[in-house]
Symmetry: C2
């Protein structure tokens, strides 16, 4: 069959997109393929859950097609294998394993009044939807296009807070538009179901529909206010609520999942119908101001060009040489790392705090949320610290503010509030990493204060710090996933200790350093795994290093088995080595990790992308392939990196292994393609791998350049013969953040043979 990339090529040639594309100057954005990751790699893998829609770097709007209703299967709303589109909603999450958002679904369609009313009031309500085909679909950064029912061409673009729709109907058809406030994650899902608490749609002028919805789901509580402006006057409108037509009203309210829908009609015209949707988390007035400031008197093409230019600016911070396939893989991976977190501040600086009160940061200031921290602290945030240094202070300050208001730093920040997904407060790692790497624009004493509170206040999903002080570990009988929690808390404890030390807080530094080493208390030398203990000191039973369940519903590990957490000690690899009886012991365990096949072939809902017990499809494994560098066998790292890149990534719709998790799985790829990876992000050290690109230039915001030349690399020349920095040969397969920030030239000399 035709290759995926040729679809895109074909899409780009479609007259609709051409008419706009031709005006847009493209250098790097052409290499971004938003469809990558819109399908699982195989039946055993999680879907990567990316969305192809239009958005701006770190913007609040992700205007994207939803190919599923009552969304359960794909958390991004879009799945490559689907053949229908229910509409285009304005907020999405990229790569998460849980669904939410999907605000304000809009669908262009045609039909008679009677047929529409019949459909929307049928007891088994037939949702409006359209067929589409990938041949008639295209996407690029800040732009998405699809032909619906072979009749209505849809184009989407966005600013930070405003979504733009351009609908081209058949000239002879009466243009209709559905606005649906019911569309959401599943209401049937038992675990954290969606509930629409309140909502409203109101015609407020000849061109304008406004409203809001107040909902609870994965995000505890979200308020979304919006104003929708149409390029042509609304000729007629029909309001619906809970499968019932309200013939005589200009506004419709919904409560308790009795959802409001509106169908609006417009004059027939050859001209496309353009729709601007401004949103705010604070008020409709703010949504209006956001639209006025970002979109007033701007054409669709102007907005699209602006979005494209914004992406071009962000992508051009790293320029590369390599094959077209690698360029598509690399820049698409970078692109997916700039989708989140999202700036939720309104134009006037209004923000919503984690206690559901409002504050104003002053006009033009940013406030970020949507942090999948358990994932992104590993490589996404290190990547942002390399390329988004001007944005990172606002991101860090948003984390600090959220921590100060709520009481501790987020575990998983969604729409400004903690949803307690996963474990550990890895914002600690991100903040300490920024501190260690010398980021400016942050009150570090405030930062340390909330880090200390975060790591001393007992709270859910980071378990009970008081326990590790009392028992020396987190007892299984008093907790949940305690082995993973202990390992991850230990890493964050270590982060806190190096920050305290650098700030001269010796006492704190000792306290946290000591606690960061307690992970050793749960290493069972008998079986050679980290393993939970009971409060009486005995080991939790039963134990099976391949099992994901622990004992029944009480898991030992978080989304993993003992193998996958065996090396989760990024902060004390030397210590881990001692537990494993030195380098040889650790190398042996690493070899076993990458070769041992589970005797039970137990399927796990989160682990996938297996190489032995290594599961690249989930985050705990992500640094493991680089660990051979620490046992003086870098060539094994190099071989594995090449194997993972070639087997678990590509430039097609199934090009990502497992959930992309807001960029983390892609950040692993981007770093690895460049030849280095932050095994311990906060340390400021990177382990070297096997770069697949020929040349990389990182354009640093301090004005300097860090250039990487990869000599003689090919599909067969995968081993690193030597590496030099500014002409001087490196003695260890590691570089430091300082070396990068000072600029200079890193040269890899590749060969097809590895040392023995």
């Amino acid at each position: 069959m035709r290759t995926f990339s040729s679809y895109i090529f074909l899409g780009l040639l479609l007259i609709y997109s051409c008419s706009t594309k031709q005006e847009v100057k493209n250098d790097l954005t052409v290499w971004v393929t938003p469809f990558i990751g819109s399908e699982s790699q195989d039946s055993l893998s999680l879907p990567s859950n990316t969305f192809p829609g239009a958005t701006t770097p770190f913007g609040m709007i992700q205007l994207s097609p939803d190919t599923q209703k009552d969304i359960l299967n794909t958390c991004s709303g879009y799945q490559w294998k689907d053949s229908v589109i229910y509409g285009f909603s304005h907020t999405h999450l990229s790569g998460t394993g849980i669904s939410d958002l999907y605000d304000i679904l809009i669908l262009p369609f045609t039909g008679t009044k009677d047929s529409i009313i019949a459909k929307l009031t049928a007891s088994n309500m037939n949702h409006l939807r359209s067929t589409f085909s990938h041949e008639q679909e295209s996407a690029s950064p800040g732009y998405y296009q699809v032909l619906l029912n072979k009749q209505i061409n849809v184009e989407l673009t966005a600013t930070k807070n405003v979504g733009f729709h351009r609908y081209t109907y058949q000239p002879n058809a009466i243009p209709r538009v559905l606005v649906d406030l019911d569309h959401s994650l599943s209401k049937r899902r038992k675990w954290l179901p969606f509930k629409m608490i309140d909502a409203q749609l109101k015609v407020v002028g000849p061109h304008t529909l406004e409203g809001y919805r107040i909902v609870t789901g994965w995000a505890r509580l979200r308020k979304i206010y919006f104003t929708i402006k149409f390029s042509r006057p609304i000729a007629d409108y029909w309001m619906f609520r809970d499968k019932r037509y309200y013939p005589s009203t200009d506004l419709i309210c919904g409560v308790d999942n009795k959802s409001p829908l509106a169908v609006l009609s417009f004059e027939e015209s050859k001209e496309p119908l353009e729709i601007q949707v401004g949103i705010s988390a604070v008020s409709t007035q703010n949504a209006r101001e956001n639209m006025k400031y970002q979109a007033e008197n701007k054409t669709f093409n102007e907005i699209q060009n602006k979005a494209d230019a914004d992406w071009e600016r962000e992508l051009s911070k790293i320029t590369i040489e390599g094959s077209n396939k690698y360029k598509r893989m690399f820049y698409s991976a970078i692109y997916r790392n700039y989708l989140h977190p999202n700036d939720m501040a309104d134009t006037n600086g209004d923000i919503l705090l984690p206690n559901y009160t409002e504050d104003n940061l002053g006009k033009g200031n940013s406030y970020y949320s949507n942090f999948s921290l358990w994932d992104t602290y590993r490589a996404t945030h290190p990547l942002l610290l390399l390329t988004q240094q001007e944005r990172m202070p606002a991101i860090i300050n948003s984390l600090i503010r959220q921590g100060e208001v709520y009481g501790y730093l987020p575990i998983w920040g969604l729409w400004g509030v903690d949803n307690y997904c996963m474990i550990g407060n890895h914002a600690v790692s991100i903040i300490v990493e920024a501190y260690i790497k010398g980021l400016r624009g942050i009150d570090w004493s405030r930062a340390y204060e909330i880090i200390k509170k975060t790591l001393t206040r007992d709270h859910a999903n980071s378990s009970f710090f008081s326990q590790v002080e009392q028992y020396g570990f987190y007892p299984h009988d008093l907790g949940y996933e305690v082995a993973s929690i202990h390992l991850e808390n230990s890493y964050n404890d270590w982060c806190a200790s190096i920050m305290a030390k650098k700030m001269g807080k010796e006492k704190d530094a000792d306290f946290f350093l000591k606690r960061s080493m307690t992970y050793r208390n749960i290493y069972d030398k008998q079986c050679g795994f980290f393993r939970p203990r009971m409060s009486d000191g005995s080991w939790a039973e039963p134990f099976d290093p391949f099992r994901y369940d622990g004992d029944g519903d009480k898991r030992y590990y978080c989304e993993a088995n003992a193998w996958q957490y065996l090396f989760s000690v990024q902060h004390d690899i030397k210590g881990l080595m001692q537990l494993m009886n030195g380098k040889e012991g650790m190398e042996k365990r690493l070899d076993e990790l990458f070769t041992t096949v589970s005797p039970t072939n137990e399927i796990n809902e989160n682990a996938s992308g297996f190489i032995g017990q290594y599961a690249h499809g989930n985050e705990p494994s992500h640094h493991n392939a680089y660990l051979y560098n620490y046992v003086d066998k870098p060539w094994k790292t190099q071989r594995l990196i090449r194997q993972i890149i070639s087997k678990q990534y590509n430039d097609s719709y199934n090009g990502i292994s497992g959930n992309d998790d807001m960029g983390q799985t892609s950040a692993w790829l981007a770093f690895s393609m460049m030849g280095f990876y932050p095994v311990n992000p906060a340390s400021g050290e990177y382990a070297l791998g096997s770069p697949v690109l020929d040349k990389v230039i990182i354009h640093l915001n301090n004005g300097k350049q860090f250039e990487i030349l990869i000599h003689n690399q090919s599909e067969t020349n995968i081993y690193v013969e030597s590496v030099s920095y500014n002409g001087k040969k490196l003695s260890r397969p590691f570089i430091t953040h300082e070396m990068i920030m000072n600029g200079g030239l890193l040269e890899f000399y590749m060969s097809e043979n590895h040392p023995h």
Copy 2:
């Protein structure tokens, strides 16, 4: 057994209360018995659902004991027959048939740390609670006292936004205090269950605990922020979440019904422990400001005296002469009419609008919510228009603002938002009544604008205005409880028409007047009842005037049968008379109403207090006994009024027939005891009955007095021989609002015989 009132007397004598009572000068507040209505009259009646706790007139705080957990049976949280108290929460509703609020439960207790932790972490969690007896309980306006476990004396008082607790422990016991954010209406209730979305408790200083809870229940969404100040330093605190003890933290968060609790301990002392709790619907900062402004540096006794004085001022607007029993019944009824609506504005003027955005009204301004309008438009609001004229503009303006923001006037306004309970937008009646009665301080053109929108925008629970225009009625097959909705909408249509007419909007006046007469289209002359029609014009089947169900789940009437809605045409009694073939026909139907016994004895969950088919226990009947005045048989009205007062009211805990419904059932009593009642509130006319008091003086806020002298009245002299106004004999048993507002003397001459 000893009488209820002697309990109170005994309560008042308890040293604890005496120590404070003695300082409080009482004239009228002594006649208020807050316990009236805390139990059902009989097994067939609904509980009246009043609460005995401490509150101020129309204040946001109702600090009252909750004798039930997971509250279902009593919507006020308190039931006379109960023998345990779970604690004292700060917000309650008086007389409603559905439960909500109960924010921030606080309970004083004692016990060892281990026993407390064991209790609060037990899998079948034993809620902390205390026994109590009515002999050791007392209450008066703004004050409540009870002795818990014969050991801890509890006293409560309040300001508008601040609740005050004074706990006197045994000197040798370590004082403990439970603060519980879990306490609420039932989470198990299938219909509108409670969900705690988010909550927090945080120790912020040696004397201070702060937090919030964000919840959804009967009220769609409520945010409650609070600050709690203790008179002694917190010596120790233990935090709990979801039956789990968090040993090492100064804050505890709860999400998704995983509720936070805190137990605080204090030094032993002979001095009572005093606690101030400030609340706000907007922010903790506002809660602090409310407390600072209303309570700082004030003693418990000062606050109690202030609350008592506030009540005294409100009660003294009507002075009466009569038996002590009648004084208790009358002033308690007046008291219950001043509990709602509640001023939700913060001291700084911040308010929460129905779209969940915030606004500021300016310091010192009031903003009212909690409107049980289907009930209270009948007599509560007419009573407020007589005695609360200085407060009514803010109440009316709050209704207008809520209508403007939301799109139509509230049906049932709870915590600032419409919960769509019951039917009809009876705020229309309240606003028009105020307009007709000449209230100042309202932009009447704005008021009319939202009334018109309210009565022309199709919306839930007022059904579809477009239908009555298309069919001439609300078809049963297209609606629910349509007969009741038609009758009630017709009344509101009539209200709109007289306002439009007075404003010179002839066209609107004609439109609404015409529509207000369409109720006649559903009067079935064959059976002589109002009865729903199908959209094809045929009558809905089956029909049985005694049945409450309609056909299966689709009711014809709202909480009633055909008999109980037969006379619900307050605005066109002449027209109803014509339908019933004149005065004789209507008298005959009234006689039947009050004598016909249901052959099926069908029990109904809402109708009770039967006299024949007349059900005084629910509102649709409330004006019916006065209708004999319109058929020239006022003596039948007089006889009935006396019968209802003596049989369905008393001055004991079971002194109210059915739900008090935020004062309406009590407002009927207050008016009837004075001798008049607003059959058609907006008309400005009152029908006369049979007063049971000897003398009444209404002290009007225009400086005038309206005095009522009842000559020769007694338990046997129940008939009105004649009535004179300023010496001039009345020709009809009616007076006007104008006559009252002009001041003057109304004299009833009573006799034991009635004319034949």
